[in-house]
């Protein structure tokens, strides 16, 4: 039996608006964690309760939500919603109250604040900027003959901008020639013009940094227009979700994309498969991403870490928790996690996967190994990289 009032964990999270797809998926994972913990008797013998409010994908609602969570609801712990904008909007309030802040997918959000109780779950590592293109370029340079030219394209938004900045840096270091470097505005519908303009510059590599609807738009346009590049893909958010995978189906073959998890033999962390099974049962009901590869395991792991810290320090004291989290290497369903001083993963683990052998639009195939072959980093490599793009597309 549990004793004492529940331990309350508060957050604002996008349940409506443009970020809701990820927000809801993350929330579901966290709710599963709460259920798991409560089934085992809670934390410190107390039940765990999530207190969450819809931030409507609008960061302007966030300061109020966190002030309310901390001052009025008096939650014991806070975690962030998805993503950078919302995290940063909460930072002043959270910092003022000196709360430990576990965050979901903040891009270098703590670089300016240097808050020592900030911990970030996306495995970007200390230098997020360059990480999203590192795998891509690394694999690209392994091709024979070596590529010489690259096209960079991405959306006019935070993540794509940062990923492109990093890509430019990496490309420069490698001495590749940039033949196309343009961005497209949010809510672009027609990507054929973009792809045609890229094609006319004849690049060896095409690196894309995009959000879900444009990721799909780009892939489709590439198939419709045709592209002779040796390698195509990059930091394309959305290709991790079942919705786009099933929509695009065989069009994905050959595309390389960054990912955070793939059901490959190299990624069989403790508990993750069990988690995904349970997640999928719920997700189908709620209209949330039914695969759950992208954000869900990390959201679950986030609370695993917080929970472990509470149990280990036997305390809800933010200072103690922060110290413990800094000092510990955690084994989670998302693998082994250790944080560096600014709260990023000490070792980045951005994967690069290549879609191979996709046939039809059935969702089940994406749960199998061998369809999203990990080609980078070497530690998790699960198959061979196929190139050029046209050949890999078969």
């Amino acid at each position: 039996q549990t004793a004492g009032p529940p331990i309350r964990i508060g957050m604002g999270i996008a349940l409506s608006g443009g970020l809701a797809a990820f927000g809801k998926s993350a929330l579901l994972a966290m709710q599963l964690w709460a259920a798991d913990v409560n089934a085992k008797g809670g934390l410190l013998g107390r039940k765990v309760e999530l207190v969450f409010y819809d931030d409507q994908s609008n960061p302007a609602t966030v300061p109020g939500i966190y002030a309310k969570l901390i001052d009025v609801d008096k939650v014991d712990l806070v975690v962030s919603g998805y993503a950078s904008s919302q995290i940063v909007a909460a930072m002043p309030t959270v910092m003022q109250k000196k709360k430990v802040f576990m965050t979901l997918f903040g891009l270098a959000a703590n670089d300016k604040f240097n808050y020592d109780r900030y911990f970030q779950m996306q495995p970007n590592g200390p230098v997020a900027r360059t990480e999203f293109s590192k795998g891509f370029l690394n694999v690209a340079m392994s091709m024979d003959p070596k590529p010489t030219t690259i096209a960079l394209v991405g959306g006019d938004a935070e993540f794509p901008s940062i990923a492109l900045d990093g890509a430019r840096e990496n490309v420069k270091a490698l001495g590749l020639k940039v033949v196309y470097d343009r961005t497209y505005p949010p809510n672009t519908i027609e990507f054929a013009s973009v792809v045609r303009a890229i094609k006319s510059t004849n690049p060896d590599l095409v690196f894309v940094a995009s959000y879900p609807p444009d990721s799909a738009g780009m892939v489709r346009a590439v198939r419709e227009v045709g592209l002779d590049a040796k390698m195509f893909g990059g930091g394309m958010i959305g290709l991790q979700s079942a919705a786009l995978k099933t929509q695009l189906g065989p069009m994905l073959n050959g595309v390389v994309a960054y990912d955070l998890y793939a059901p490959e033999p190299t990624m069989k962390f403790q508990g993750v498969e069990d988690f995904l099974t349970r997640y999928r049962q719920e997700a189908a009901k709620q209209g949330v991403d039914p695969l759950g590869f992208y954000i869900a395991p990390l959201a679950y792991a986030e609370l695993q870490i917080l929970g472990q810290a509470v149990e280990a320090t036997k305390s809800l004291d933010d200072a103690k928790l922060a110290k413990y989290i800094h000092d510990t290497t955690f084994q989670t369903i998302a693998g082994e996690i250790r944080f560096q001083e600014r709260g990023e993963w000490a070792e980045p683990r951005i994967l690069l996967v290549q879609f191979q052998g996709i046939a039809g639009n059935d969702v089940a195939q994406f749960m199998e190994a061998g369809r999203q072959v990990i080609v980078y980093p070497p530690k998790f490599k699960s198959g061979t990289f196929k190139y050029p793009f046209s050949a890999a597309s078969k």
Partner: protein
């Protein structure tokens, strides 16, 4: 980008295809906003509703949405009529001007959007029609069916509605009703019924535009917001009350976007497209085919 005829022709072709789809999006705005003076800011929300109906059609019932679109459009038409009745009852009957309705439609927009979230969830939805996965080539110009089919459907819908407006009595009465509601009675027509039918057509067209949207790209409940600006801009650029004007304006916007995208960098295409609108308004304040 370096110039080439190949790129130019393709940019124009893409622009036209995009324009055809934009036209479908803007038809309902031209009818409701331009002709009936109803500032239906929730129009894009109705479009997204149409997308989800299409999704339901193929994934729930296994029926090609191009086949069921007609049924949905009729449902939208009837819904639009009921909806207009309510709008009439609460606003027009009392003689309030259309501005009053604006807040009302903002409310409707949220209601539709969140209802979709609650029913369908927040995930991106799309439909896959294998027969549209083809790309035809005419000379150097590539015509992907995924864009061409919605364009053709959009233009066909516009032409059909335009014929209805100019050739039928009810159609002409729709054009008249915005100008002098009471006077429509003097020719023996019931203006409320006329407006009801017109609004029904507007909503019906939104539903079809939604079907076309989900053929073109993936859709989530709040995506309609992105179309508010474009839809209203096209309506105004076209001259408010003119469907042919709407078509021309949609094409212009589409071509401006693809040309900018091809030759100057896509990032500037909204600025060019909407700058064009501003310039047009500055030199021809009544729009292209404004009366």
């Amino acid at each position: 980008m370096d110039f080439s005829w190949d790129l130019l022709l393709n940019a124009v072709a893409s622009g036209i295809m995009l324009g055809g789809f934009y036209a479908a999006v803007a038809i309902g705005v031209t009818i409701a906003f331009g002709m009936l003076d109803i500032v239906n800011i929730a129009h894009p929300a109705f479009i997204v509703l149409g997308s989800f109906l299409a999704y339901l059609s193929i994934n729930g019932l296994g029926i090609d949405p191009f086949l069921s679109a007609g049924v949905f459009a009729v449902a939208g038409f009837l819904f639009g009529r009921v909806f207009y009745r309510a709008y009439y009852y609460f606003f027009e009957r009392r003689g309030d001007d259309s501005l009053q309705g604006l807040a009302f439609f903002f409310g409707i927009m949220f209601i539709v959007e969140i209802s979709l979230v609650l029913v369908f969830g927040v995930d991106y939805r799309l439909i896959d029609l294998p027969y549209l996965a083809r790309t035809y080539e005419i000379g150097v110009v590539q015509i992907p069916l995924r864009l061409a089919a919605p364009c053709v459907a959009g233009v066909a819908m516009l032409v059909a509605i335009q014929l209805y407006m100019s050739r039928t009595f009810t159609g002409r009465a729709i054009l008249a009703v915005a100008q002098d509601l009471e006077a429509v009675r003097f020719v023996g027509a019931d203006p409320i019924r006329v407006k009801e039918i017109a609004f029904g057509i507007a909503v019906g067209s939104a539903i079809i535009a939604g079907v076309l949207l989900i053929v073109i790209q993936s859709v989530e409940p709040s995506i309609g917001r992105e179309f508010i600006g474009r839809a209203f801009a096209i309506c105004v650029l076209g001259g408010m009350t003119s469907l042919p004007g709407t078509l021309i304006a949609a094409m212009i916007l589409g071509i401006a976007e693809t040309m900018t995208s091809t030759f100057f960098g896509p990032s500037w295409s909204p600025a060019v497209a909407f700058g064009l609108l501003l310039a047009t308004l500055a030199f021809r304040p009544a729009g292209i085919l404004g009366r």
